[in-house]
């Protein structure tokens, strides 16, 4: 089923758009996330490219109707490349006053605002700390406001079902969804079907929700207030099978894929922490892949168990966020020393300390690169989009297994939660990956190295004749026995560094997007990719000669980066921190990279980067 459109009301006019940004906002009890994902699924099936960004309240259940209780879900969809969830909102559906005021500043002038008037009573305004009703004052002057009694209309639609009032009111989000489907000419079929599956056990609920959805749609179709219906034609995506994934889901799938393809059973040692927990949740659901998820007593127990599992032959993983990563520092050093494969995922959040746990930030790059005592280098990879989390998790596993090293994967709260269409890879297209267990006792030495990768052998307990001891003390080259000899230490420090550096050979050259040389090279990493690309495209369209390099490999850096950097007059590094990658580039290449830091717990807006580009070029 694709591209089914509802019958059109001939009295209304239709306007084609290249893209649109819609935000659903309401109280966390209002089912906003569900509404948003339904809209997203329908839009994906419809064939648009898209990007989404949910926003949850920081509290589990902040008092209903208050500002801290607002839940939001934004989707940007279009018929061209959609790179970000959108700077500015074309249409806002606000289920209560708090949701309205929280979103106002992001709304385009002349944008659409649909409000549920039933929740703009005196009491509701008070909860949102408003002294006057925004529907009555000047607040909404700049916008096209549709004041709809959504609750009342929903009730009316399901009246005869004689349902409990609380249940009825829970249907109102489907009414709102129906309105949006009308507004953007989306088919209702997928959601109607979904409702059927979801509430299969309660036919009355199925009926009520379906009716609400249809009622919303019909309401727009019938009422005079709504005159224009929009159309956003499907995008031309590369052929393939797609699904919409969040970063955390994609990361989990990447790990399972790596385990399945390599033959090393997946072991996750983890301790819950926002925004990494969903990886633990997701992997715990797939035990039929032989996945072991071990929720440890703390992060140190989690990574400790992962190191033990790696010793015993598993594809071992630990997932955490900044604070947990800080606790893990000593254990990462151990993994570096014992040279075992390990994938360490840090889903970054706002810091320092407990910081802004529900917000996003990229301020743990230094920690990933340098946050250990002694010289303890480890490869560091960063994912740049929800779907890319799959690729990076898989690639990190590959490197870990091939080089016998702990590999650090950086994602962040924004990637973790936001979604985008992901082309599901053909299994045969995935890079080769293999657990190479040593079995042959002949010539075995625990720290003898593969001449190419410098990897030591993976001789797992249970293998006869390979009994040996590893540990955190410095070891003698080849034999692996404890050794404090000065020159041996220097050799081992060097070997550990060279092993990581050698991975660069496998990293393809970076090829800047946009102009291959020119005035400005923008270098980014991680979740900022969409915003940077969109901004660069826009400024190039405005006549600028700009290239954009987005780094997946932060350590080692791609081997041709130096050559690329010198082809531009200036280098700009936008990051959600105070300039950590910029520091790295400055030090490594002695290039006067311009720091563009943002420390607001929020992703970049395209326009912020555009403005900075212009400033840099001035």
């Amino acid at each position: 089923m694709r591209r089914i459109a509802e019958p059109r009301n001939k009295l209304k006019s239709t306007k084609a758009l290249q893209a649109a940004v819609v935000r659903f906002a309401g109280d966390s009890g209002d089912g906003i996330q569900l509404t948003g994902s339904q809209f997203t699924d329908t839009t994906a099936l419809f064939g648009n490219d898209l990007a989404t960004c949910p926003e949850y309240p920081a509290e589990i259940r902040a008092p209903a109707g208050t500002l801290p209780g607002v839940s939001g879900y934004q989707i940007h969809f279009g018929s061209k490349d959609v790179l970000t969830p959108g700077d500015a909102v074309d249409a806002l559906i606000a289920m209560n006053p708090a949701a309205l005021v929280a979103s106002l500043s992001d709304l385009k002038t002349n944008g659409i605002v649909i409000v549920n008037t039933d929740s703009f009573k005196e009491r509701d305004l008070r909860k949102a700390r408003l002294s006057s009703n925004p529907l009555d004052d000047y607040t909404l002057d700049r916008f096209r406001v549709f004041a709809v009694a959504i609750t009342t209309l929903t009730r009316r639609a399901v009246e005869d079902l004689k349902l409990d009032g609380r249940i009825v009111d829970r249907c109102k989000n489907f009414f709102a969804l129906g309105m949006c489907y009308w507004l953007y000419s989306r088919p209702m079929e997928p959601t109607l079907r979904w409702i059927g599956d979801k509430f299969a056990e309660n036919p009355q609920l199925v009926e009520a929700n379906r009716r609400a959805l249809r009622a919303g749609y019909s309401y727009c179709d019938a009422t005079e207030a709504f005159q224009i219906q929009y159309e956003v034609p499907p995008a031309r995506l590369a052929p393939g099978v797609y699904r919409n994934v969040s970063g955390n889901t994609a990361l989990s799938l990447g790990l399972i894929a790596a385990s399945q393809r390599s033959g090393a059973p997946l072991f996750l040692g983890s301790y819950p922490i926002t925004p990494a927990s969903e990886i633990l949740h997701e992997l715990a659901r797939h035990k039929n892949f032989g996945v072991i998820t071990f929720q440890a007593e703390d992060e140190i127990g989690a990574i400790g168990a992962a190191i033990g599992a790696a010793f015993a032959g598993a594809l071992a993983v630990t997932t955490t966020s900044g604070p947990g990563m800080a606790l893990n520092a000593e254990s990462v050093g151990l993994a570096v020393m014992v040279e075992l494969p390990l994938v360490i995922c840090n889903i970054q959040r706002g810091g320092p300390s407990t910081g802004l746990p529900t917000k996003t930030e990229q301020a743990d790059l230094f920690q990933a690169l340098f946050g250990r005592h002694g010289e303890a280098p480890a490869p560091v990879l960063a994912a740049s989009s929800p779907g890319d989390c799959f690729t990076v998790a898989y690639e990190a596993s590959r490197i870990a297994l091939k080089y016998m090293v702990p590999v650090i994967v950086l994602s962040d709260g924004y990637l973790a939660r936001s979604t985008g269409p992901w082309r599901i890879p053909e299994l045969d297209d995935l890079p080769a990956i293999k657990a190479r267990y040593r079995a042959d006792p002949d010539g075995f030495a625990p720290y003898a190295r593969d001449p190419e990768t410098l990897a030591r052998p993976w001789a797992i307990p249970g293998t006869p004749g390979l009994e040996h001891r590893v540990g955190g003390l410095e070891k003698r080259d080849v034999s692996g026995v404890i050794d404090y000899d000065p020159l041996n230490h220097e050799r081992m420090v060097d070997l550990r560094a060279r092993k990581v550096a050698a991975i660069a050979r496998e990293i393809g050259p970076v090829v800047p997007k946009g102009d291959g040389d020119g005035d400005l090279l923008i270098v980014g990493w991680g979740s900022t990719k969409g915003a940077i690309r969109a901004a660069a495209q826009a400024r190039r369209a405005g006549g600028r000669r700009i290239g954009h390099v987005h780094l997946r490999y932060l350590n080692p850096l791609p081997p041709n980066l130096a050559d690329v950097l010198i082809r531009y007059k200036r280098v700009l590094v936008p990051e959600l921190n105070m300039g950590q990658l910029a520091w790295l580039l400055r030090s490594r290449f002695l290039v006067d990279a311009i720091v563009f830091g943002k420390n607001q717990g929020q992703p970049f807006r395209q326009r912020e980067i555009e403005a900075k580009i212009e400033e840099a070029l001035r």
Binding site: P239, R243, N288, F294, G301, G308, V338, L466, E467, V470
Partner: protein, 340 residues
């Protein structure tokens, strides 16, 4: 290459590493006992893994020719848990010290015991930090002078066995470095236990806390101070085996066995006793100056062990859902196809 498991000799478990303990250290006896027990177990050498933390005691894996992992300070139970979960066929032993296990590693220890993961935990208790040259440990005694407590320790010590029981340990035992046969038989019992086995081994550090257990090992003193637990046998001690323990309400008290009626009150040791109070009271005895310190197996009961539960759940779910199919998994949820 490897000898058949059944014909191992103690020497098969020695390595070519120089043993770097002080001559006379109690650790030698423990090492030797463990090597003997390993030789007798009939477990193929490659299936044995020893994990340790940091400390003099934690050097042990280097000296035993099995797989070994000298971890970082306090984390041996975490590492061992990962090893055992990843491969439950392995026999996983932990060598740890009073600082390693009870100070920095306390949390991992109690959680390993709670989960009842099948690892054998040998705690070398010398009541001091030896490797770092003589600071107080969580088992240092009140008033004990150490480098970090030059005026005497004011920190009340843990009772390691009571702590282990409080955490839910299914096997709890104590032995002494100086009593080789007892130590070996205790290790053998730990090896036989399914689930987490916790063994406190009183170990003499002759450099930083020499004679800490003299009361218990000294030929003249030990009769009155030591009670050797034997399953099914009465709780009897004394130089002339003339004293027994009986219950007074919920407390133990020592009585002289004079052939009189009191003799019948003397408790019979029962390692498998289901109620938790008995083993706990035994464990607390060493806190009481008027009671002897027991050694032997305090408690040996069965609970499901963690690695089994983990595997059982995986098996069950796989049976229900079928083995995972990667292709299907990737395409799960609503997917759609874009054609050329």
């Amino acid at each position: 290459m490897n000898a058949p498991a059944s014909s191992y000799k103690k020497e098969d478990f020695e390595t070519d590493q120089d043993v770097r303990w002080c001559p006379g250290c109690g650790d030698f006896a423990i090492l030797s006992a463990l090597q003997s027990v390993f030789a007798d177990l009939g477990v193929p050498r490659e299936k044995l893994v020893i994990v340790s933390g940091i400390g003099c005691s934690s050097r042990l894996p280097y000296y035993v020719n099995t797989y070994g992992f000298h971890g970082i300070h306090g984390r041996a139970p975490a590492i061992a848990t990962g090893v055992k979960l990843a491969n439950p066929d392995l026999e996983v032993w932990i060598a740890t010290g009073d600082g390693d296990a009870l100070a920095i590693g306390g949390n991992h220890l109690i959680h390993a015991l709670r989960r009842n993961i099948g690892v054998k935990i040998l705690l070398f208790n010398n009541r001091v930090y030896s490797l770092t040259k003589g600071q107080s440990s969580p088992t240092s005694e009140l008033g004990q002078k150490t480098k970090s407590a030059p005026y005497g320790s004011i920190d009340p010590p843990f009772n390691a066995l009571a702590l282990a029981l409080g955490a839910g340990a299914t096997f709890v035992a104590r032995s002494i470095d100086a009593f080789l046969p007892h130590l070996k038989s205790t290790l053998r019992r730990a090896a036989a236990h399914k689930g987490a086995a916790f063994v406190e081994i009183l170990q003499n550090c002759l450099v930083f806390n020499d004679g800490a257990f003299g009361r218990l090992t000294d030929k003249n003193a030990r009769g009155e101070n030591l009670l050797v637990l034997e399953d099914g046998q009465p709780l009897v001690f004394g130089r002339r085996h003339d004293k027994g323990l009986r219950l007074n309400g919920l407390d133990f008290e020592a009585v002289v066995m004079d052939g009189g009626s009191a003799d019948h009150d003397v408790l019979i040791h029962d390692e498998r006793r289901s109620g938790e109070g008995y083993a706990y009271l035994l464990a607390r005895m060493s806190d009481h100056a008027d009671l002897p310190t027991p050694i032997g197996v305090f408690r040996d009961v069965q609970r499901p062990c963690y690695e089994d539960s983990v595997r059982a759940q995986i098996r069950e779910i796989t049976k229900e859902q079928g083995a995972g199919d990667l292709e299907k998994l990737l395409r799960a949820g609503s997917s759609w196809e874009v054609r050329e």
